[in-house]
């Protein structure tokens, strides 16, 4: 089956520094792929590249960025605008800053409907109220006329999801959709996304650093480090048997409710390398507890078992 979104060899550079370096992945229809990694690993840039929303200073190159087998890199800016909002919706991290404070929330949903579906003002407003209702906002007609600062954090995030999905795009890019929320709201938003995914056969490209969210939402995971995919697998396989030392370190860094009290939190020593000064071989080697001589060579992404890829020569040596 053809994937809905197919990214091949995507690179994003700022001057000479490759923030995203040869990243490839696919998202199938109805599938949720999570891009996981620390801050600065390039996951947001990767997602923004799909819609050409990267900062002007970023140089984006890709062998292919295809949506429904349509090559996005060859589209004009005008054609690209028809893709944004209509074929792909985006939810940003902080709903307080991602919603315009001087326009009512409903207007920010309705303008997309008027643009992409050619609806008149009244029809668009009715659809807006419906959209707000569908994301679980109570009293949607009143809320639609209110401004972002008048809504609670959870409602704002729901409103943003409504705006992103108003025109019923098949793909949703969710950039850290729960990071700015407290735990109870996180759970509600995750439930909302699960429901919408079920109802609309929605594909989701989920950017996050929260492995808990990954476990609940994702079907597949791609772990990014220093601009490269270092491991990619089905979510169950990844959690059951993480292969790359970075992935293993990430998982062990998550504090456990049933862990021993008083034990030190596990951390990964060192810091993400500066893109202008990547090590020539494995980029994780300086921080890796298992680094050996062969790790000085650049590592390739290899399929270790069906559907489970890893960029580490020593991957098979870990026991779980």
């Amino acid at each position: 089956m053809q994937p809905l979104l197919d990214i091949r060899n995507l690179s994003v550079r700022f001057g000479a520094a490759p923030a995203v370096d040869g990243v490839s992945f696919t998202v199938a229809e109805g599938e949720t792929l999570a891009l996981v990694g620390e801050s600065g690993c390039g996951k947001t840039l990767t997602a923004l590249s799909v819609l050409r929303l990267t900062p002007p200073a970023a140089v984006v190159e890709a062998e292919s960025i295809a949506l429904h087998r349509r090559e996005l890199t060859r589209l004009s800016e005008r054609e690209m605008r028809q893709v944004r909002g209509k074929e792909v919706g985006v939810v940003f991290q902080d709903p307080l800053t991602a919603l315009n404070p001087v326009w009512p929330v409903g207007e920010q949903v309705a303008e997309g409907l008027r643009l992409h579906e050619g609806l008149g003002r009244r029809a668009a407003w009715e659809r807006t109220v419906e959209a707000l209702r569908e994301v679980g906002i109570a009293d949607p007609r009143r809320r639609a006329s209110e401004y972002p600062h008048q809504l609670s954090g959870g409602m704002r995030q729901r409103a943003m999801i409504a705006a992103a999905l108003a025109c019923r795009p098949p793909l949703l890019i969710a950039d850290e959709p729960t990071t700015a929320l407290d735990v109870t709201l996180q759970a509600q938003i995750i439930d909302l996304l699960l429901r919408l995914r079920e109802e609309r056969r929605l594909s989701i490209l989920l950017i996050t650093h929260d492995l808990g969210v990954v476990a609940e939402l994702a079907h597949r995971v791609a772990v990014l480090y220093a601009g490269q995919v270092v491991e990619s697998a089905g979510v169950a396989a990844l959690f059951r048997r993480p292969l790359h030392p970075y992935t293993r370190a990430l998982l062990s860094a998550v504090p456990r409710v049933d862990g021993q009290a008083g034990r030190r939190l596990a951390t990964i020593e060192g810091a993400v390398p500066d893109p202008t000064r990547y090590p020539s071989g494995c980029r994780f080697a300086p921080r890796c507890p298992h680094a050996l001589e062969p790790c000085r060579e650049p590592q390739e992404l290899r399929e270790w078992e069906a559907g489970h890829w890893v960029r580490c020569g020593r991957a098979g040596e870990w026991t779980t």
């Binding site: 929303l53 909002g85 919706g89 800053t97 991602a98 315009n100 404070p101 920010q108 643009l115």
Partner: protein, 306 residues
């Protein structure tokens, strides 16, 4: 809401009161003797004294001030020492010209500076940005009366494109409006520019683009509305500066407005007229600030209460 309005009106009244007191004191602190200016250099002592008594200029200052205040509240601003016409009538007769000029200047000011600010923010560091920066510095530094004279000489006198002076039709207002407005254009263009740069970095701009909105819609509907808020606050304060520029502009272009009236009053030491025109100007500034305040509340929904 009503409470807010009442509070604003109270402040406005206090401002006017304070202004009247300050102007009164300054007008009477000037060492020149208005009687000498009024009666002429050949009047003898007796005439001068008689005149002084007639104009109540021999009363103590406090009495003079309170009398003035009492009359002013009844709409009587006294009579001009020079022409003997009622001050309030002179002011109201000349107000329309000043209003037309001020609005014209404001129009030029905002209609040019705002799009310019948006454009230079969008095309940062490109030629249009650099040229505007230089122009902004130049226009802020140029004195109003010099610019007015230059425009008058070149475009009206030599090239004959516009009337040289006087108020005969709306074309008479073009050069004066440009003169008045251009000083603010440069400054406001840079203000809008730097605010737009901040705004364009915000997430909601990226979110608007992500919905597929066209660039003009993103810039003007989403961006400008936020970038203009600081401009509105500054505009309130700049109203006073606008009226200051009006004085010079009306003089240069011989427009029958309040600026010329007040300038003449100062030169003649015509105290009632000075007080009247300054107080009226203060009223205009205070009103303009109230209007800007209300507009601000309309444009930014986050402002609540006082």
């Amino acid at each position: 809401m009503i409470v807010r309005l009442l509070r604003r009106l109270l402040w406005a009244a206090l401002t006017l009161l304070g202004t009247s007191l300050i102007v009164f004191l300054i007008a009477h602190a000037v060492p020149a003797d208005p009687i000498k200016a009024f009666a002429g250099p050949h009047a003898d002592k007796a005439t001068q004294e008689a005149l002084r008594r007639e104009l109540h200029l021999d009363d103590p200052l406090a009495t003079q001030y309170l009398r003035f205040l009492g009359n002013a509240l009844r709409g009587d601003l006294g009579r001009s020492n020079v022409t003997r016409e009622p001050v309030i009538e002179a002011i109201l007769a000349r107000f329309p010209a000043t209003l037309a000029l001020s609005l014209g200047g404001l129009l030029i000011w905002l209609v040019v500076s705002i799009p310019l600010g948006v454009l230079t923010a969008k095309h940062r560091d490109k030629p249009i940005d650099r040229v505007t920066l230089v122009l902004a510095t130049v226009t802020v530094s140029v004195p109003t009366f010099w610019l007015g004279r230059m425009l008058q000489f070149e475009l009206a006198y030599r090239l004959g494109w516009f009337p040289v002076a006087g108020l005969f039709s709306w074309t008479s207002l073009i050069l004066p409006s440009v003169t008045l407005g251009i000083v603010g254009v440069g400054y406001y263009a840079r203000l809008v520019h730097s605010n737009m740069l901040d705004v364009l970095n915000q997430d909601y701009i990226r979110a608007a683009r992500a919905r597929g909105l066209s660039e003009p819609v993103v810039l003007f509907k989403h961006g400008l509305r936020n970038a203009c808020l600081p401009v509105l606050t500054v505009l309130g304060m700049d109203m006073a500066g606008l009226l200051g520029g009006v004085v010079f502009t009306e003089s240069v272009f011989a427009l029958p407005g309040l600026g010329a009236l007040s300038l003449q009053a100062v030169l003649n030491l015509d105290v009632p007229m000075i007080m009247g025109t300054v107080l009226f100007a203060a009223l205009l500034v205070v009103t303009a600030n109230l209007v800007v305040d209300c507009v601000y509340r309309l444009v930014d929904p986050r402002i609540k209460g006082a």
